[in-house]
Symmetry: C2
Subunit: 228 residues, 2 copies
């Protein structure tokens, strides 16, 4: 199957329209990442892009569709900037580390000017019912499940202590990433991301050698790298 415009039945696009469509979504993503999906406004996008309100509206035919497409477009960026680099590492602990680092780097590089688009969306819609809430819920489940899955794989490969609780560790890693995002934005200080980095490194280091109590093996491969 290659052509499946059966239910949506989109009209064919012209090149100039395609370009405008992309420009609108680009501005929408920028705006929504800073001020939230709900303060996305057709009139404001039109003003910002120097085109008419009808010009913007015609591309989506409803505000809801504009929001949906904005979230989808942001999702593609997230996939490109976080998931793809994260998953490109070899399976196991290395992949888990790569994914966390890909996320932190994506926050640090301000891929979205307002920080992680989906962290923002999580807070905006966690308490509101509706399609966005539902999509966020499945997104979160997927993300946390993926991280937990990587932890399980790392355990199976003997890279993490078998006593590790995958979902619990995934929760802790996720928590460090999200707070690093929020605080680095709040204080306009990308170096806050290093706190998250360290929290993740420590959490993984702990899980590599068991919690405590029992005599551990070597005191971790000493890495006297002059960290900044």
């Amino acid at each position: 199957m290659q052509d499946q415009e059966l239910d949506t039945e989109e009209p064919r696009r012209r090149s100039d329209g395609e370009q405008t469509h992309a420009a609108i979504l680009d501005a929408a993503i920028r705006l929504a990442s800073i001020e939230g999906l709900n303060s996305l406004t057709i009139g404001r996008l039109a003003r910002e892009l120097g085109i008419s309100k009808s010009g913007v509206f015609a591309h989506f035919r409803s505000k809801e569709r504009l929001q949906e497409e904005t979230v989808d477009a942001a999702g593609e960026i997230f996939e490109r900037e976080v998931l793809t680099p994260g998953l490109s590492a070899p399976e196991g602990l290395a992949q888990l580390e790569a994914l966390c680092e890909a996320y932190l780097s994506y926050v640090e590089r301000r891929v979205f000017p307002g920080g992680c688009f989906f962290a923002h969306l999580l807070a905006e819609f966690d308490a509101q019912s509706g399609p966005v809430h539902d999509q966020m819920e499945s997104n979160q489940r997927g993300w946390l499940g993926m991280v937990a899955g990587m932890i399980e794989t790392a355990i199976e490969r003997g890279e993490l202590d078998p006593a590790t609780d995958p979902l619990q560790l995934a929760f802790e890693l996720h928590a460090a990433m999200e707070l690093a995002n929020y605080l680095s934005m709040l204080h306009r200080d990308p170096s806050v991301v290093d706190r998250g980095r360290r929290a993740i490194r420590d959490a993984l280091a702990r899980a590599t050698q068991g919690p405590r109590g029992s005599r551990s093996t070597s005191p971790s491969p000493g890495n006297p790298q002059s960290g900044g």
Copy 2:
């Protein structure tokens, strides 16, 4: 000091007005905790309370003041529900644990129907400049500083490993609390808070006997106090 209306010069309040004022703020807090401070609307509050728009407006004389007073009123609730019970425990590790538990309990009990009011505000305003952003920044600094201060005290009293980095541990505790809040709201499942509880318990347990990995080289595991 008890009377300091020097600069603001508020008019004296009548009893019925006082009551309406409180009712408006109550509704505003409820609404803002779910949908965000920016979707707070004078017209909507009026509709919800069955009074006229002017009736609401007269109590604040600007939307900005309404928002400020709403945040302040939510702050008082936070103080009553989290800070006061947290600080009532004896100084040291016990107080730190009490504070974390007070927060988690406050999330669990849905003191605000949309979850932690300030976690919501953090995400809403982290990337936006303005007075709310600035107040949130100082709030966050104060909160994290307070937690770190308690950790320092606990270290001084020999209840936590002296190799512990107070700010780093504070970050990790804070991260667990925030994510517990967001996810428990997103999944409409208060039991998610237990994940945060466990993350905090584990983090504190680790800090009671010294970490295993990471770069904190000083072993000094010399306090065999049985952790609970």
